[in-house]
């Protein structure tokens, strides 16, 4: 069992003819992902690695019965690509693109509140259900199927923690990289709720980092609503204090939150042990199982 994606997920890749889109489509297919179509304006009728390309997401979904998309479109055009996906009848959109302007994402965020489609990302490595499918750029070989759910803001840190788990024989139900941008689709709480409701996820790892208040909010959610044990990791303990100038931003986020100490304290208060090293996180998970 898993959350959000499995063997039956039928994927359309937006931006499949670009360098990254092509490379990772091949990687996804090699892993076993059911990539059924590509969508690139002006490239309809071509194919990439045997996958038919359509001019629009709508045409791709119509012809190939896709239910999820992965976006590899460059930042200047990425929010348009996400809107196109949200305006089509898809269950899930995974935006890999890094560097989408924040104001574009605010508009996407507004649209998200009006549709049933779930967005993961942007600026994220994607989602993987080991042994079944992956949507994104996560290196499949480090994952193993199992019962630990993983949610993380950082791509490569996710890989590191997964490596620590897999190397001692602890597999994963599903791993989600939610992305590190100021405005994202699926957040920690969304992912934690899905894992809590998944009967085959027996423990969860949550990897956060300095900045924002999402980890603090997630800690509160864990304390109040979760029975599944959670282990945490927070990156950025040694980060030097920044020279902050954007007063307005600081007013909104409030003071005293956003630091590694604040996040670790919030998680500990919710009963979540936080590892000093990625390996220590795996120790906690081993104790849970």
């Amino acid at each position: 069992m898993s959350i959000l994606v499995d063997n039956d997920t039928r994927v359309v890749v937006q931006g499949i003819t670009g360098g990254e889109g092509r490379f990772h489509t091949e990687q996804m297919m090699e892993y076993g992902t059911n990539v059924v179509a590509g969508a690139v304006p002006g490239k309809g009728g071509e194919d990439v690695a045997g996958v038919p390309v359509y001019d629009t997401v709508d045409a791709a979904v119509e012809a190939e019965d896709a239910d999820a998309s992965v976006v590899f479109v460059p930042p200047a055009f990425a929010s348009d690509a996400v809107f196109e996906a949200l305006d089509t009848d898809l269950d899930l959109v995974v935006a890999i693109t890094e560097g989408i302007p924040t104001q574009d994402m605010a508009k996407v965020n507004k649209r998200l509140s009006e549709v049933d489609t779930r967005l993961i990302g942007p600026n994220c490595p994607g989602i993987i259900t080991p042994g079944e499918t992956k949507l994104g750029i996560l290196p499949g070989s480090i994952f193993d199927s199992g019962n630990v759910g993983l949610v993380s803001r950082s791509g490569t840190l996710t890989y590191q923690v997964v490596d620590n788990l897999t190397s001692r024989g602890i597999g994963q139900s599903t791993a989600i990289g939610i992305g590190g941008d100021p405005i994202i689709g699926t957040d920690f709480i969304d992912a934690l709720e899905l894992f809590e409701n998944d009967p085959d996820t027996e423990a969860v790892v949550m990897c956060g980092e300095i900045g924002g208040e999402d980890e603090e909010a997630a800690a509160k959610f864990i304390g109040e609503y979760m029975d599944t044990p959670v282990a945490g990791f927070i990156a950025g303990r040694t980060a030097p204090p920044g020279k902050r100038m954007g007063h307005a931003g600081a007013i909104v986020s409030g003071s005293g939150t956003g630091t590694a100490e604040s996040k670790i304290r919030a998680l500990n208060d919710a009963g979540v042990p936080v590892g000093d090293t990625p390996n220590e996180v795996a120790d906690y998970v081993e104790e849970f199982l």
Binding site: T102, A106, P139, T156, K243, I251
Partner: protein, 396 residues
């Protein structure tokens, strides 16, 4: 990037910051009243500007530092002698680590009241938020912390923009004097529009001064722009004045790396902000002292990897280097090629390099990597400990 990780900076809503004089030009162009002012880069220019503008006038350091006034970066001159003395004081002074090389000479506004107006992105809500307070002219972050009710907030639907009623509501909710409420609401709407038009992360006026005859005027101006949107604002990208703390940060900018110099002796190179931060944390955890943060980003090719090593070797403080790559979009074979390329040009590798490669094409990378030149470790923890040991040997 000064003082913080660029990637982390993104996550902390930090952004490209315009100087006050640049922001004021943009504010004035959109119709927000600003005092008469002129930029000066020498004492002579400053005095000439002051003579033209008249007294009293303010001499204001143009540096990216908060609390300039308290730190002595803003002075009020009543005559030519004072203008000259203050310009001499401020030009060239060190303000919280920044050298002042330009001042804004500005007409002093005779005010009866000071307000705050600002627009920013509320990342928690994923929506823009407009803010108004009658407690302007002071550190607004302190006001927010001590008395959050003193700041009226209005979230804006980015699909529609700010409705006129929302600007009025924020102004009335803040308790602004009815005599000027209409003018302040107009300033707030204009501020929202320019926040949108310039892809700003923050647009802020503190203080918005109110004069005895009920005029409002922007005595300060903050405009921070989203780095990721600079591709569609070439005019703003040109305005970006790079101020680097040292030559290494300048070099990092040329190489387009996210780099921050720290005080230790263990050089750190990695991919992805979260993992590089974790590597720093581990160096500290195992008793070492990080020399830098260097994120090569995603999908780095061989030349970029070689540049990263050159970057870290250029720091005289560095005694050992830990190179930790966990490939997703980055491929291990490219990393190995880059490391070979960088190290094979030396007769002797200048500083011990510990390499840990994992993820995409890591096996291909390990076959290519010239292991005579580097120390290979299989795990992050081992690689960090090894580098910390090397650094300690050099120290001892």
């Amino acid at each position: 990037m000064n003082g913080f990780y660029a990637k982390a900076r993104h996550r902390l809503n930090l952004a490209m910051r315009l100087h006050e004089y640049q922001a004021k030009e943009i504010f004035a162009d959109t119709g927000i009243p600003v005092p008469e002012s002129r930029l000066a880069t020498s004492v002579e220019e400053a005095v000439a500007a002051a003579e033209d503008i008249g007294y009293p006038c303010a001499i204001k350091a143009q540096v990216h530092v908060g609390g300039r006034g308290k730190a002595g970066g803003i002075k009020l001159a009543d005559d030519e002698g004072e203008a000259e003395a203050y310009a001499e004081d401020i030009l060239g002074m060190d303000l919280k680590g920044y050298t002042v090389d330009q001042v804004l000479v500005e007409e002093a506004v005779d005010f009866t009241n000071e307000l705050y107006v600002g627009v920013t992105m509320d990342r928690g809500e994923g929506k823009p938020v407009a803010m108004v307070s009658t407690r302007g002219g002071v550190d607004i972050e302190e006001v927010a912390a001590e008395d959050p009710e003193a700041i009226a907030r209005e979230h804006v639907d980015p699909a529609f923009g700010m409705h006129p009623y929302q600007a009025r509501k924020a102004v009335y909710d803040a308790g602004v004097d009815p005599a000027i409420a209409g003018d302040v609401a107009k300033v707030l709407r204009t501020l929202y529009d320019l926040w949108t038009a310039n892809d700003a992360s923050d647009a802020e006026i503190n203080p918005l001064m109110v004069t005895a005859d009920d005029e409002v005027i922007a005595a300060d101006a903050v405009l921070n722009v989203d780095d990721d949107a600079l591709f569609r604002h070439p005019e703003l990208a040109e305005m970006e004045e790079e101020t680097f703390e040292d030559d290494l940060e300048k070099k990092a900018h040329e190489y387009d790396f996210d780099y921050v110099r720290l005080s230790g002796n263990v050089g750190i190179i990695g991919n992805g902000a979260g993992l590089v931060m974790t590597t720093l944390d581990l160096v500290d955890y195992y008793g070492g002292d990080p020399a830098n943060f260097l994120d090569v980003g995603g999908g780095a090719k061989a030349d970029r990897i070689a540049n990263a090593l050159d970057m870290v070797f250029s720091d005289d403080n560095v005694d050992a280097v830990v190179f930790n790559i966990f490939g997703g979009i980055t491929r291990g074979d490219e990393v190995a090629k880059g490391i070979n390329e960088a190290l094979e040009q030396f007769d002797e590798v200048p500083k011990p390099v510990v390499v840990r490669l994992a993820g995409t094409n890591a096996e291909e990378g390990m076959e290519i990597l010239n292991t005579d030149l580097v120390n290979v470790e299989g795990t992050l923890e081992d690689a960090v400990q090894r580098a910390v040991e090397f650094a300690k040997e050099v120290e001892a």
